[in-house]
Subunit: 189 residues, 2 copies
Amino acid sequence: MGRWQPDSRGRLQEAALALFAERGFDQTTAAEIAAQAGLTERTFFRHFADKREVLFGGSEVLKDRIVAGVAGAPKSNPPLDAVARGLDAAAGMLGEFRRDLASQRHTVIAANPELRERELAKVGDYAAAVATVLRRRGVGEPQATIAAEAGMTVLRVALERWAGGHDDRGLAVVMNDAMTQLRMVATDS
Amino acid sequence: MGRWQPDSRGRLQEAALALFAERGFDQTTAAEIAAQAGLTERTFFRHFADKREVLFGGSEVLKDRIVAGVAGAPKSNPPLDAVARGLDAAAGMLGEFRRDLASQRHTVIAANPELRERELAKVGDYAAAVATVLRRRGVGEPQATIAAEAGMTVLRVALERWAGGHDDRGLAVVMNDAMTQLRMVATDS
């Protein structure tokens, strides 16, 4: 351990991810997370509504960033190019996280069907929000939903590759590459 | 009511969907479904493990059909063309259902976050199975996962349009059209 100590929230997240990874999500309590972080259970609940929020607490902010990225794309951008702006924004935010923590989070979620369903539902929320922005930009249906969902597929695949340790490059590069792969897969016929 | 009576399983499905749509999924019991169908609760549990299975009971068969469709595509087919064969198989199976029942099912699931998560997870299972078949056909990663996930996006969008009453054509046509839209969205840049 270096001399630098992260803030309480960061220490709780680190402790939670370590315990989830070691014992499993269901076998870990908020009290144990707090103890591991050298903090009280009360402090835990000042930062998180429950232990699941340690994993999903950032998802509303992430959704807002993605939506802002899409909404801010030049008017002339075709739908999937606008979605790519949203993915750039997501990569900018997520890429700042420590990759070892992102990787632990990924492993914990992959191991638990309920958490996997929750994660899919969150990404489904992002897709619905992105489709709404695209419709506001004048994109019709089903194009808006298809572009939004395809973009969120790119997000999930890139995150999986990056956090899963299958690709050592930065998240923005991995994301960009996944988008290129989608375009190639879709044109190859 | 005509003179024809569907089998017990079909009567239970019809009764369940009507009650789910009328009262909500959580407010409906297996006993009520059985009573509505003029059958005993014991008969209900001979056909379904629980009331959720009325909505999701066919999903393993559907997954097998999709996988068989992809696996049976000509070796020369690029990944997304092979996936399209799987979607044809899905449309063939699902298109045989009565559209009014598919529409009720769609409405019931859309109204319930837990059921929505379950439905997304099922489609995620299909995507994982399709990606496995594609890898067996020699497709690398991330192309296999991207093609599989993009294909399942097409499935979901088409089902939503068809069962949601946004498109009056047959499911196979709606599915085919959604695939074309995906290809257009992906090339437009």
